[in-house]
Structures are given as structure tokens and as C-alpha cells.
């Protein structure tokens, strides 16, 4: 392995082909805009300047590692030239951080504070550009803020392969634009360009002016919308920055979803459906236990279910593929021997969505089918006509297709028409209200954390199953 010297320290460069990668991996920070670990090297921002002894200053992202080379990342020459580069990059930048959603997590802002910190030297008026160019129904482009690093262009060419974006015209007229016959709506991964944009040029339309990022914090979670199980961050307001609002849900809403980088599952990317987790998780919740459509207490619903289990002989369970590993095990331990269990899909592909592709999206639209099938087998549900009790866990089951003679116990989380049609309905918590793990289709287990309070009247499935199995006189929270 080549050994190089960075700021006088010997560094084993390992597998890293360039000075920038070797420096970053060994704790020497070199600023960079256009370089991205998952994209090709273009070297157009010129801000990752380093000095090589005997060779002068050059960009680290395109400097191959040579054994014994001596690199300075913070010499006086490097500092001066980097500062000059930042003057160029900011030449036409409007510095409108006060109204920019990126403020607080903007690389340009950070580098300006760290490496430049001076007002513009140029007295030329700044160029005006399009402030709100709609790249798609999801993304806005602010051309004044764009520094033409081309990360978004390379993303659509090298990662999502939709080839939608390009840089048109030249010089200070150059603009990021979609092809004439395309929009970024054609790209199911388009929102990743918002994350990789080092400035505030590409903005999420759903998050536009919703919140300052420093009032938010992310909770690690797992996207439940397909069997890939991408790790994500759910962003919501920090507890110490609660809004004074009549509707408490304003303080717990998921304001945006971003990828949580995970080389074993999704790398730094997620698909657009994963960004819209709110549309699944934040559907109106069912918060009331019901018996034949009439409201009962949780305890009464549990008693009724236990009675149904005791009275019946041919019991079938349709197990949720949205349940966590812990819940599946709790069901197996408490009730596994009393039910013939089948795993059913809770969600099926919707019309118009990309069903499966080579990058991330999987055809199975459920997060935990693999773990459920490991416990309960992978045969398709086979419901005998003489079944007398059917436990439906999670959505996706049409009650009209179930045998007429069977009693139905429904465990669900959202306010679906079926809740009123079951003999007993018990509302369950969802993944933003409890801890748990999902096992993706490749067997990789990822954890999710709670970020929202569990509504009154809702029970965790892990707590529920032992209560249902108890021989009578159930205790515990209901």
C-alpha cells in the first residue's frame, strides 16, 4: 500500500486511489463541492486544493496517490488559493441564506465561514437568475444559488440513469436544465439530488419554507415501503423547540425523510416513495377498540378475543408483513401453537409506481416479509371454508373473501373501512411509536426508533399477544 505524508504525518492510503479520499479517510478534512464518493470525478469546483511538495497546488480529488508524496492540506498557499476559489464560487451567488431552506446544512455556508469569511471583492453587480424553476412536481431549482458543481447531473447519468438533467449554455449563462421532452418526474430517485446539492439550489417543494433545519432532529428509522428496507431519517421538531399550537400533531409531524447512509442496504440513496412516508404513516389512525363496530375498552376487546379463541377450533392467522421482528416473535411465542399462520402482503404495488428496478426498489411492498416467512412459512394464505376464527393482523385483506361462518379479529393501525366490520378490532401502534427491527429481503436487519407519542387507546402488539394468550384475568396496561 502506498504511504504518503499529509501535513507531515505518514498515512497508509489503503485502497484509496486519490489524495482526497486518502485524506478524508484518515481524518484530514479537505473541503469539496463537486466530488462525491458515489459519483465520477469532474474536478470543476476547484476547492479541494492541496499542495504537493515540489509540484505546487492542485486539486486533491483528481490527484492519484503516489508512494512517498508529501501533501499539505492547510499551508499558507493552499489557504490563500482556496480563499480565492471561494471568491469565484460566490461571485454570482446571491447569499440569500436568510430565505434559503438549505441554510444550516449548506456546504457553501460552512466553507465560507471556515475558509473565507470575507465580503465579496468584486464590485460588479451579481447576475440575476431564475429563482423558482420547477424541475418536477417535487423539486425547485434556484439558478442564482447554483454553483454548477454538476453533482445532480452526474447523479441522473450515473446512479439513477434517467439522463434527465444537463448543463445547458456556457460560461455565466450556464444553467442546469432537464431535457426538453423530460422532467425529473420521470426519475423515481430524483429527490436524492436535493441531498447531494452542496448549496441551496435544489429544494424540496414539499419541505419548502416548512422549517429551519436547526429546529429539527432526525430519528433513525427503516422505510417500510418495500422489501429493500432502506434506512432513513425521519425529521421532526426538536422537543426543546416545540411550537405553541392548538394541534399538537404539528410538533410531531414528519417534516421530511432523508436517507440514512448504509452501505449494506441503500448506500446514500432512497427512492421518492421513501420520501413520502408521511402519506402512509400519517394516515388517520384508529384509536378506539371496537366490538362489531361499537366502541369498547381495550380490556373488553382483549377479553372478547380470548373468548373467541377459546370457543373456536379451526383458527387461522394472517400475519402482517409490516410487523417488526420482535412482534412476530411475540406472536409466535404467545399464540403460534393455537393458529395456523400464513404471511400475507399488507401492501401491493400501486398503479403508476415503479414496481421493481435494479437500483433499490423491490416488487414486494412490505418491509418484513422475510422475517415473517422465516417464522410462519412462505405458502400463500389458504383459508379453509370451515375456519371458525380468523385473526387478521395488518391491512390488505378483503373481509368479503373470508368464509362467512368465521369470526374475525382485526389488529390494525389505521382508520380503514374494515375496522367496523370485524367482530373485534384492536388498534395497534405503528413503527414511529415503538422500537423494533425489520429484516430486509437479503437478511440484513435494521433498527427503527420511536419519534411520535403513542396515541391513547392504542396498544403495542408485543404487549397484546401475551395478554391474548393468558388463561384469564389479564393484567397489565390496556
Amino acid at each position: 500500500m502506498p504511504v504518503i505524508f499529509i501535513n507531515g504525518e505518514a498515512v497508509d492510503t489503503g485502497e484509496h486511489p486519490t489524495v482526497l479520499q486518502a485524506a478524508l479517510a484518515n481524518g484530514f478534512y479537505v473541503p469539496h463541492f463537486c466530488w462525491h464518493p458515489e459519483l465520477s470525478v469532474v474536478g470543476n469546483c476547484r476547492v479541494c486544493l492541496v499542495e504537493q511538495e515540489g509540484r505546487g497546488v492542485n486539486i486533491a480529488c483528481n490527484m492519484p496517490v503516489v508512494d512517498g508524496m508529501r501533501i499539505e492540506t492547510d499551508s499558507e498557499t493552499v489557504r490563500a488559493q482556496r480563499k480565492a476559489m471561494l471568491q469565484f464560487i460566490l461571485l454570482n451567488h446571491p447569499v440569500d441564506c436568510g430565505i434559503c431552506d438549505k441554510a444550516g446544512e449548506c456546504t457553501l455556508q460552512d466553507y465560507h465561514y471556515a475558509y473565507n469569511g470575507e465580503p465579496a471583492l468584486s464590485r460588479e453587480p451579481k447576475l440575476k437568475g431564475t429563482k423558482f424553476y420547477p424541475l418536477s412536481s417535487r423539486i425547485l431549482l434556484d439558478n442564482e444559488r447554483c454553483i454548477l458543481c454538476s453533482r445532480c447531473v452526474r447523479f441522473t447519468r450515473e446512479v439513477s440513469k434517467s439522463n434527465v438533467l444537463g448543463i445547458e449554455y456556457r460560461g455565466d449563462s450556464a444553467l442546469v436544465r432537464p431535457a426538453e421532452d423530460r422532467t425529473l418526474d420521470d426519475d423515481p430517485y430524483s429527490d436524492n439530488v436535493i441531498d447531494i446539492c452542496p448549496v441551496g439550489a435544489l429544494l424540496s417543494r414539499s419541505f419548502l419554507h416548512q422549517a429551519r433545519v436547526w429546529y429539527l432532529e432526525p430519528t433513525p428509522s427503516v422505510c417500510p415501503r418495500c422489501a429493500r428496507g432502506c434506512t432513513v431519517q425521519l425529521w421532526h421538531r426538536k422537543p426543546e423547540w416545540q411550537l405553541k399550537t392548538l394541534d399538537p400533531s404539528h410538533n410531531t409531524r414528519i417534516l421530511r425523510v432523508t436517507p440514512l447512509e448504509n452501505p449494506r442496504v441503500n448506500g446514500p440513496w432512497i427512492c421518492n416513495r421513501g420520501r413520502d412516508l408521511g402519506e402512509v404513516l400519517e394516515r388517520p389512525r384508529a384509536e378506539q377498540a371496537l366490538q362489531k363496530g361499537a366502541g369498547v375498552t381495550m380490556m373488553e376487546a382483549i377479553e372478547a378475543t380470548r373468548a373467541l379463541i377459546a370457543e373456536s377450533t379451526r383458527r387461522i392467522a394472517l400475519v402482517s408483513s409490516w410487523a417488526s421482528n420482535e412482534e412476530l416473535r411475540a406472536f409466535q411465542n404467545a399464540l403460534g401453537d393455537r393458529f395456523t399462520s400464513f404471511v400475507k402482503p399488507d401492501q401491493l404495488p400501486e398503479e403508476g409506481e415503479v414496481v421493481e428496478d435494479e437500483l433499490l426498489i423491490r416488487a414486494d411492498k412490505n418491509p418484513n416479509t422475510r422475517a415473517a416467512q422465516d417464522l410462519f412459512g412462505s405458502e400463500a394464505p389458504e383459508i379453509r371454508e370451515d375456519a371458525d376464527l380468523i385473526l387478521v393482523w395488518g391491512e390488505g385483506v378483503d373481509f368479503a373473501q373470508l368464509p362467512r361462518g368465521a369470526k374475525i379479529v382485526f389488529l390494525g393501525s389505521w382508520l380503514l373501512p374494515e375496522v367496523g366490520h370485524a367482530d373485534v378490532f384492536i388498534p395497534l401502534s405503528i413503527q414511529t411509536e415503538r422500537r423494533g427491527h425489520y429484516t430486509n429481503f437479503e437478511g440484513v436487519v435494521s433498527a427503527f426508533e420511536p419519534c411520535q407519542p403513542r396515541p391513547e387507546g392504542v396498544i403495542d402488539a408485543e404487549t397484546l399477544f401475551p395478554l391474548l394468550a393468558a388463561p384469564g384475568g389479564a393484567r397489565g396496561r390496556a
Binding site: N163, V164, G166, I167, E168, R170, R177, P178, E180
Partner: protein, 154 residues
Amino acid sequence: MKHLIPEFERLKTRLPPGHDATLLLPCLRRIQEDQGYIADGDIEGLVEYLGVPRIQIEEVLSFYGMLRRAPIGRWHLQVCHNVSCSMRGAERLLDHLSGRLGIQPGETTPDRRFTLSTVECLGACGTAPVVMVNEAYHENLDPAGLDALLERLD
């Protein structure tokens, strides 16, 4: 563009395999030479023929000012207005042409005979001011010389 494909095929033999995209610029220039501009249909044809995404063709077309996406007049008058030509009276030539043809730079006469443009340095500063008519340079021009030139263009 279809009838030019045999020509493009000969160009391809000069490149290592897998480098078809490199032919984009020569193809665009040849198409413009052939019909005066690059039509939308030609772009689609090249997407198919070279296997280049459409956005990359649009990038090239918008980058190079000399590549046109709409037809122009029979005679293309390109007046250099860079430093040397301006100092030697290029603006006067431009005003004269605008007045005589009744069009502004960037426009075409209604009879489709003339298109007037301004260009940056044509590399003939020693013989400024210069006007390029289609592919030919006309140097050391003054309004009288320009009039004589226009007389020769049908």
C-alpha cells in the same frame, strides 16, 4: 439526416469501438452544413443512431453558438463586434446593415435572403472590421464596401 448515415459510418471506422458518442459534434456540423440547421427530428435521429441521451445533444447545441436549431436566410451576415473591429467601425457597419435590411441582429429579412448576427472575434483583427458572409471573410469594410458586397448577393 438519414442520407448522411453512410458518411457517419465512415467516420465511425476512425474511432475505437464504443466511442460513438464522440461523433456527436462532427455529425451535428455535417447536418447543419447539409441543411442549414439542426431540426428536432435530427436530434431524435442522433439519439437513436449514436445512443447518446437527448440531454447531451441539447447541451452541445446550446454550448456552441454556431449550431442552429432553426433555419436562417440564404446569406448569413456575421458582423464581428469585438474590440479591434469595434474600434475600426464595426458598430457603424452594424447600424448600416440594420438600416438597409430593416432587421436587428438575430433577425432574418421577410424574403429569407439575409440573416444578421453579431459574433465575437473572428481572428482577423489586422484587417478589421470584418464581416463573415456564410463561410467567406470580407475584411477592411466600410459602409460603401458593404453596399458593394450586398449588391453581389442575390
